[in-house]
Amino acid sequence: MKKKKTIIKPQKTFSFDDIREIWAYKDLLYYFTWRDIKVRYKQTAIGVLWALIQPVSTMIIFSVVFGNFAKIPSDGIPYPIFVYTGLLLWQFFSSSLGAVTSCLVGNQSIITKVYFPRLIIPLSATLTNLVDFAIASVILIIMMFYYGYVPNLLGILILPLLVLISFLAAFGIGLFFASLNVRYRDVRYALPFVMRIMMYVTPVIYPASMVGKYSKILAINPMTGVIKAARAALLGNAPINWLLLIISTAACMILVFFGLIYFKKTERIFADIV
């Protein structure tokens, strides 16, 4: 076996060694994710169906309230499928962000007892939600059949990229909140409230075309570009806005970068203050 050499020093910043280390611990990443999925639906009667119930029921309520009563326009697309496309990505983003924020505190008994690259925990928290996202996507496919939408080839190719952007955005912001949450537990209480506001400034229940000239500002919120592009790709209501998507990608890269720096900076005191 290869000899491993460890140097323990007071300071530690983010470096490519971290990525190598995470790779070495990939089994653990798998087990953490597997544990969370397994435990989540254990001792529930309908199990994994819960991953469907939440987005579907929200979609129905929104369709009735915003589509039928408030008559919010939806670029000529049937409102249920319009809102479900947005909701699906939004809920992936928001529940991942919530999970990442509380992941360090939730795993404190492990953090204070054994060493492993700490980044594994937020990574697995996001991956767990990716599985729920995949399950809920089945409904979208069914709806597309029902309403007779056929995505174009480019649309299908761009989808993984959109999921990746959402993933990184949740992960990046989450790293920042997770580190903050170790010190100030207020974050956990403030987050759901902030997320609710965020949902209304993201074009989930209304089309981005409604916002008009402010849409460039909205694009800094990475989820705006993602949801717009997803609708364009799947439902073909508008051409894909590449500029918007590039802004979103850049914004999310910056978030991940600063999230990582802040996470690594506070990492060494997690065990002391958690």
């Binding site: 323990i8 020093k9 007071p10 544990r35 397994k38 492990i110 007892k113 537990r185 065990a271 203050i273």
Partner: protein
Amino acid sequence: MTTPIIKINNISKKYDITHQQGGYVALRDVITNAFKNPLKFAKHKAKKVLGRISKEEFWALKDINLTINKGEVIGIIGSNGAGKSTLLKILSQITFPTTGEIEINGRVASLLEVGTGFHPELTGRENIFLNGAIIGMTTKEIIKKFDQIIEFAGVQKFIDTPVKRYSSGMYVRLAFSVAAHMEPDVLLVDEVLAVGDTAFQKKCLGKMDEVTKTAGRTILFVSHNMEAVKNLCHKCVLLENGEIKMFDETEKVITRYLQNNPLTQDNTLKKRRDRKGGEKIRLTSFHVEDHDGKKVDAIRFGGKYSFCFGYESLDNQPINNLGCAFSINKDSNQLVFNWTKHTKQSFDAPPKGILKCQLKQKMPLGEGLYDLAVNLWAGDERVDYIHNLLTFEIKKGDFYNNGVYIKSPVHLEQDWSLNTG
């Protein structure tokens, strides 16, 4: 040939006590405080900004230098709060040192607790894989060792049962078994053998012994169990207040350690960090008196004693319904005396003082090492708690003052009478 596998250079670790006190800071508390007492709050904030509040610093470790060779089994002993666990936590990279550097040549695994990450809902089989991965084994290794692990733990029948249905003994056996089958170059062990029954403890010690002898593994072993240290370790480190006092052959170090009498040592309770609470009211000292009120330096089987607990209220306010309760463990794992809420007496107490508990009976506990855990209550709220306040020795004693030294783990004073007819 001996080669250093661990080189510790000038390691120190500092904690800010003010930082630790609040448990965790919530904005909510800050706001309620501000409303309750706006003047005081403003003054406090101003002082904080100006840097007038001196943060209490606490050096858990000071300038530790140590070189350990491959294949050595080193015991780390010392009284509570001496820095043993902090040293192990730094070596296992859970927390980082404030200064200094450590070089380790090889794969390190730490066992600060058995069953880290065990999830009650998962089955034994699933937990073996999860726990194995957490302590740094790869899936391949776990699969290779799987049969050995369940055999050593003796849980074959229940391997597909969720561990929440396991007895506590089975749980611990399975957890230790996973840890015992990993193959690191350096193994760090902290007090984990304090759990489980004696038979299993022996089995674990045997396993660890076997592992070092055959595989040439290096082990650092923290324990209060002097027997285990003696059996397992060639050499020992004695830590005292964060410094290495001695590093020598096990026998010599243990002798030296036992000469230190915790009952007469200066009480450093005020600064102890291994407490739960202590924000408003804190335990500050502990000593033992005889019934004439004189401090004693040794406790004997059959003697009459009072336990005295010093406390203080940090905001200098009188305390309503202050009460104290304690429990005693033998050999750090066997509960021999426990507090109950019903025996708790409480007092409306001044901000600072000593709560004295006179033991009515003669000391009924026999020769041995005991740990004391103490709870401090104000009304129904537990304000301070130190789990491992100190380890003390009860020496053999002449129970009835008749020259006979009774040899039993407990003795109850008796009064016999004869009823006829």
